[in-house]
């Protein structure tokens, strides 16, 4: 993206006057979608020219992020092999064409992905109140990725990836639920056999619906089940959405409101095949 927020009024007005108003408006063109890279990026073919199109004003979950495949499937379902109308609005820092895309039936693809709940309104770069409204409606209806009460915005996920250290979340606010043990290196195959144990030191059982784990890279694992009062619950992580690294990782336990309730870290020295990493609680 090329936009930045201007904190100086003078600089902002100067920018207003000099840059965008002088840029020639690109003409819309019709092209066939030949590839869907991810939820918000498609490749179109016009004649013999292929162009990467980054959908303007929206942001879909990144590869390896929860719901990324569903978002990509949604975009594929709407566009793959179809003739679409592309209205360019600019270019981003990766030289991709930013654009609004109109589907053969007249629907706006950008809006449709937000309406279906597979994309976020890219609030930092878009002032399109229509997209903001569509996102609010999708959230309220729990469509698509909003089935997760507080999914991670792709920009926060990318920031966590970039930092590769501290996941982009606030301080830990303990409430009695903790990650007590992790099994990053089960005997045999890791995938589908790694496990976590959640402890509950409160006097009430806790339904883990809406709770999730997040690792240092920003990958997430949605929890399920009930932890009994003063009890523990072992969960085998059957879905390979958040591998526990054998050379160390950070794992956050996040409640349905998005609050981090526990953070644990381990390194390669703690990991031995078949042994649980205990966190001393």
């Amino acid at each position: 993206m090329i936009h930045t927020k201007h904190r100086s009024t003078t600089a902002m007005v100067a920018t207003m006057l000099l840059l965008p108003a002088l840029a020639p408006a690109a003409e819309p063109f019709t092209a066939t979608v030949v590839r869907v890279k991810d939820g918000d990026t498609i490749v179109v073919l016009q004649g013999t020219t292929q162009t990467d199109i980054r959908l303007e004003g929206i942001d879909c979950p990144e590869l390896h992020q929860a719901f990324s495949q569903r978002a990509k499937q949604a975009t594929s379902g709407l566009t793959q092999g179809k003739a679409v109308t592309v209205l360019p609005t600019g270019t981003d820092k990766y030289e991709r064409t930013l654009a609004n895309v109109t589907l053969p039936d007249g629907r706006n693809l950008n809006q449709e992905l937000i309406r279906q709940g597979w994309a976020w309104w890219f609030r930092k770069y878009s002032k399109d109140e229509g997209l903001a409204k569509l996102e609010a409606e999708a959230r309220a209806a729990k469509r698509g990725l909003w089935a997760d009460l507080n999914p991670t915005p792709p920009w926060d996920w990318r920031a966590a990836q970039k930092n590769n250290a501290k996941p982009a979340l606030g301080d830990v606010v303990p409430n009695g639920l903790e990650v007590t043990d992790l099994l990053p290196d089960p005997v045999g195959r890791d995938e589908g056999h790694e496990a976590v144990e959640i402890g509950n030191s409160t006097d009430k059982s806790v339904d883990l619906g809406g709770w999730k784990l997040r690792d240092r890279a920003g990958n997430e694992y949605r929890l399920a089940g009930t932890v009994a009062a003063r009890g523990r619950l072992r969960i085998v992580m059957t879905a390979a959405t958040m591998p526990l690294n054998n050379d160390g990782d950070t794992v956050l336990l996040i409640d349905p409101a998005g609050v981090v309730r526990c953070r644990v870290e381990y390194n390669a020295d703690h990991v031995r095949a078949g042994n649980w990493v205990e966190f001393g609680r």
Binding site: H3, T9, L17, L22, N150, G170, A257, G258
Partner: protein
């Protein structure tokens, strides 16, 4: 109260349309309306400042105003009314990193004797809402889309200005 969130939103949209039309009248724009990131935010900020000053006038207060107030390093607040600094966001935070950033700004501002307030028209992402409240304190965060928030903002500023020793409207 002279204003509320709905009126402020309508004034913002009206003034945004006017701003685009008048910018388009500049010779170099050749009649084309600009499409600029930042213009909406700037218009909202100006609208908010105008409405606050109007409300303060009802209380006999007319504090001096300064925009883009440095609070140390590269940090700035959008505007200052006497010793009250106000950071304005149109549609909430742009990421979790903002929570930490504004938390740091608040510390810097308070270290210089300012009261630091954060105002946004809305915040739809619950972790951001919760995060900024935890970082700045409920009494310093105002989300205008929520009922009663405009009144609370004006009341907070009025009380702060009246309480400050040596302040003469």
């Amino acid at each position: 109260m002279k204003y509320d969130a709905k009126k402020i939103s309508e004034m913002t949209e009206t003034n945004l349309r006017l701003a685009k039309m008048r910018l388009a009248e500049l010779p170099i724009c050749c009649g084309r309306e600009p499409s600029i990131a930042g213009l909406h935010g700037w218009v909202f900020e100006q609208t908010l400042q105008f409405c606050i000053r109007e409300e303060l006038a009802e209380h006999g207060l007319s504090p001096d105003v300064e925009e883009q107030v440095g609070i140390g390093g590269r940090a700035k607040a959008d505007f200052r009314l006497a010793h009250v600094l106000i950071e304005v966001k149109t549609r909430g935070l742009f990421g979790m990193a903002d929570v930490q950033k504004y938390g740091k700004y608040r510390e810097q501002a308070e270290g210089r004797g300012y009261r630091y307030l954060f105002v946004t028209a809305s915040e739809t992402h619950e972790p951001y809402r919760r995060g900024i409240i935890e970082a700045l304190g409920q009494s310093n965060v105002f989300i205008l889309a929520q009922p009663g928030e405009w009144e609370r903002l004006v009341t907070t500023i009025v009380q702060e200005l009246k309480a400050k020793t040596g302040y003469c409207p």
